[in-house]
Every structure is written in C-alpha cells, then in structure tokens.
C-alpha cells in the first residue's frame, strides 16, 4: 500500500499569521476601525517555502533560534495548524508530545486524568484499561493515583504526561523540548524509551535547544532560520555548522 517510504512530506509550505496591530476583541472596536478603514493587518511570515521529507524510521532534528519557526513546523506536522500555502502529508499515527499534560484537568485525580488524556489522543476506554498499569508503573505514581493533580509538582505532571503519550508505539513521535523536564533519573528513562521506539521503527521528530541532544539522538537534521531552511542533511554536519555560526 505504501508506495514510498516517507513518513512526513512537506511541499512548499508557507505559514502566514495575520497580526493585527492591536487585538480587536470587541465588536464595537471592530466596526469603528472597519468604518475608518483602519483595519490593518501585519502579515508575519513564520515559514516560507519549506520542503523536506522525513524518511520512515528516521530520527529527525529541527534546530534553530527562538522564533525561527520550529514549533510552527511541529504544529503543522501534527495537524494543529493548517498551512497557508503548500501541502503536508503524514503517513501513520502521530503521537504529539508538544507540552506534556496539555489535556490534564487539575481538579481531577491522576487516575481520571489518564483516562481523559487517553481519550484526548483518541483511544477507547478498553484500550486504556489494558495500558493503565504500564502508565502508572512508568510514571512511578502508584502512591498518588487518587490525589487531585493540582497537588502534584510539575515534574510529576510531566511524568504522567510522558507515560501516556508514549504508551503506544506510534508511527511518528513528535518531541518538543520535553526532555528538559523531570529529574536526571527520569530524563534517562525517557531517552531509553525513545531509543526503544527508534529501534522499533518509529519515526521521531525532535525539537531542542540542546545541540548535544540532537547530535546524540538524530540521524538527520534541518536548521531553520527566520522561517527558511538554512541547511538540511546529516545531523552531525548541520550541528557543526550551527555551532560555528
């Protein structure tokens, strides 16, 4: 069925944001400005003419300074944003790790949140039942399962989030700066799990400010600068060039 062995394809992708000078949230303001013809939008081009492929089973890094379009690229790939121009194709299931614990309700207990978050990612209750013990074990939260999550520390929240997001073996895993949370011990555990997924053939896309991490984990890499591709290719070469700049 799969004609090619790409996991993600980006073709001439462009992303514009309309940034109004001031945010107009009220109807009255909007009409006044509209009548005065003062509705100004400043077009901000976050990404411009981005095309690249990510092969199946690749570990792909995205490098760049703040505001270079890394997170926008990830959001486009995971389908949260849709591009202004161009096409994005993804093959297979995607597990986004963009900020762990996004779907948690802090008034609920960890047990309830695990089920809730599972359904946010589109899994059924029965499916979650099977994996519940795994998640608890990995996050080491056995003693706090029935405590409301508002009493958790941020590290604890991140652990549960990571455990849920990685409970399955997705075809594509998106990792955005998340390896920086949690203590040393847990970070190691996360990397181990990601490595295991890589061995299992999962395509991993990593965004990080830590070049060491990218160099260590990735095979290929793209370097974004001001929304354009500055360099793409072997992770080592790109990282070297990035360090020199």
């Amino acid at each position: 069925m799969d004609k090619n062995n790409n996991a993600v394809e980006l073709r001439n992708v462009e992303m514009h944001f309309n940034m109004n000078k001031e945010k107009l949230y009220s109807l009255k303001e909007y009409f006044i400005k509209f009548m005065k013809r003062e509705l100004r939008f400043e077009r901000f081009i976050a990404l411009q003419d981005i095309s690249f492929d990510i092969k199946k089973g690749d570990v792909f890094g995205i490098l760049g300074l703040n505001g270079s379009g890394k997170s926008t690229t990830l959001k486009l790939i995971s389908g949260i944003l849709s591009p202004t121009k161009g096409q994005i194709k993804t093959y297979g299931t995607i597990a986004p790790l963009i900020e762990l614990g996004a779907g948690f309700d802090m008034d609920l207990t960890a047990r309830e949140n695990i089920y809730l978050n599972g359904s946010v990612l589109g899994y059924s209750k029965r499916y979650m039942d099977e994996r519940f013990d795994d998640i608890v074990e990995f996050s080491e939260m056995q003693d706090f399962l029935d405590t409301p999550m508002k009493n958790y520390s941020s590290g604890m929240v991140a652990r549960v989030g990571f455990a849920i997001a990685t409970m399955t073996t997705p075809d594509i895993l998106i990792v955005d700066e998340i390896l920086s949370v949690g203590d040393f011990h847990f970070q190691q555990k996360c990397e181990e799990r990601i490595n295991k997924m890589i061995d299992g053939g999962t395509t991993v896309i990593i965004v990080s400010h830590s070049i060491d991490q990218i160099e260590r984990l990735c095979k290929n890499c793209v370097w974004l600068e001001n929304g354009k591709i500055k360099m793409i290719g072997d992770a080592k070469e790109v990282c070297d060039a990035y360090k020199k700049s």
């Binding site: 849709s82 996004a102 359904s119 990612l121 209750k125």
Partner: protein, 269 residues
C-alpha cells in the same frame, strides 16, 4: 473536484467522530464529577434546585400576577426545566472553545467536540431535573397519560436546536468576546418572550408581542413539551414540522458557520 473535497470532509468528520466519541463522554463525565465534587448532597442538587426555585417562583407569581393556570407548579416546572436545559447548554458552550484553548493549541482534537460536550452535559443535568418534574406532577396530582411517553421527542428537537445554536455561539465568541456579556441579557429577554412563568393567554391580546413570541423557537419546544406531559394532547403534524425545521435549520447553519470559523480558532485563542 469540489464534490470530492466534500466527500473527503464527510469521511474525515465520520472517522473523527468515531475516534473521539470516548472523549466526548469522558469530558461530560468530568464536568459532572467536578460539578458535584465535595458537595454533601452531590447529584441530588440537580433535583432540589429546580424544586426549590419552583417553590419560590410559584409563590411569588401566584401572589403577584394572580395568574389562573391549572396546576401552575407543573406548568412552570415543565417550562423552566426545558428552558434551563437550553440556557445551560448554550451558556456553557459559548465559553467552551475559549476555555479549552490549552488543549486546542497542543493536540489535534476536532473542535466541535467542546460545544457538543457541553450540550450533552446539560442534557444529563436535564435528565436529573426530570425527577423533580415527576415529583411535582405526582404531588399536584396531574393526570398521567399515555402521551407522556412521547416526551423524548420535544427534548430531542430542543437538543438538536441547542447543538446548532451552541455551534454558532461558540464560534462567534472566539472572534468577538462581547458576546459573552451580551448573551446574558439576550437570555433574560428571551425567557420573558417564552411563556414559562406566565400563561400563553396573558399575551394573546397583544398582537405585537404575540407575533414576536411566535417567532421564538423555544416557544414551540416548550409548548410541545407541555402538551405531551400535562395536557394529554397530541401535537399536530404541522407543529412537528415546525420543530423539525427549526432544529435542523439551526444545526445546519451552525455546522456551516463553525466549519468556516474553526480553522482560524487557534490564531485567536
């Protein structure tokens, strides 16, 4: 070409709905848990609340207005419970997209889930308040008739209408936050344009107001609901047709507006 796109949209809609149906249920369950957590009587409040409000209002209005309605308590609680369902569903839905911004910004979730979930939550609350309705009916000795069994029909009409209206409201509120403040006032006007605390006869002589009331969708749902619940009356074919038309039209309009607006939600929340 455009036909093909529409087909794809439909397919995506269907697969999304199937995939995220558990989320819909989980979110509603979460809302219910949070609403009643740490209250001693818990879910019983859903029954006591309409009962107590009914007691206060029937006392006040039977004194003030000297309204002559047979079984006024039943008359009132039937109208008000359906109205509360509508007002709760739409008010909560209105804020649903904005308050789920954390989620929407980070994971792909079909956005209509959020208003839909609030409507479902309101429907569950409504189901509990039906216990209060039954209590009042038994207490007042309202004759229980076979048409009672038809009660899901007006509820369904109203539910579909709620979903449609919620879709419109939640989408527009993302762009214009004024709606949050305006809607409360609109609801106050709206409730008085629906015969809930007063009998329909009271306004029949004023042709202007009466014709406005006749344009009010809630008027038809409430009337239908009372007809089957307490008047042992079978609504006519044309009454059914009006209800179906209102609810489906609103749903369709809501779906179109929401579909147009949702792509840009993320830039505004």
């Amino acid at each position: 070409m455009s036909n093909c796109k529409a087909m794809n949209d439909m397919k995506l809609f269907y697969s999304d709905l199937k995939k995220f149906f558990p989320l819909l249920l989980n979110l509603s369950a979460k809302d219910i848990k949070i609403k009643y957590r740490r209250s001693v009587l818990g879910i019983l409040w859903s029954i006591f609340n309409p009962l107590l409000t009914m007691l206060v209002l029937t006392q006040v209005f039977s004194m003030l207005l000297k309204v002559q309605v047979e079984n006024f308590a039943t008359y009132y609680i039937l109208g008000s419970s359906l109205w509360n369902f509508f007002s709760e569903a739409t008010t909560l839905s209105m804020m649903s997209i904005i308050s789920s911004s954390a989620l929407i910004k980070k994971v792909y979730v079909p956005k209509y889930i959020f208003p839909l979930e609030k409507c479902l939550f309101a429907l569950i609350n409504f189901a509990f308040s039906m216990v209060a309705v039954v209590v009042v009916m038994l207490f007042q000795g309202t004759k229980l008739t076979a048409t009672l069994l038809l009660f899901p029909i007006p509820v369904l009409y109203c539910f579909v209408f709620c979903i449609g209206f919620s879709l419109i409201l939640s989408a527009l509120t993302v762009y214009f936050r004024d709606i949050m403040h305006l809607y409360g006032i609109l609801l106050t006007i709206w409730i008085y344009l629906t015969p809930i605390i007063y009998p329909e006869e009271l306004i029949k002589h004023n042709s202007v107001i009466y014709s406005i009331v006749k344009c009010n969708p809630m008027y038809y749902f409430v009337k239908y609901f009372r007809d089957v619940m307490m008047y042992n009356a079978l609504p006519t074919f044309s009454e059914n047709l009006i209800c179906i038309f209102i609810s489906l039209f609103t749903l369709l309009l809501g779906a179109i507006i929401f579909n147009k607006a949702e792509k840009k939600f993320i830039l505004h929340i």
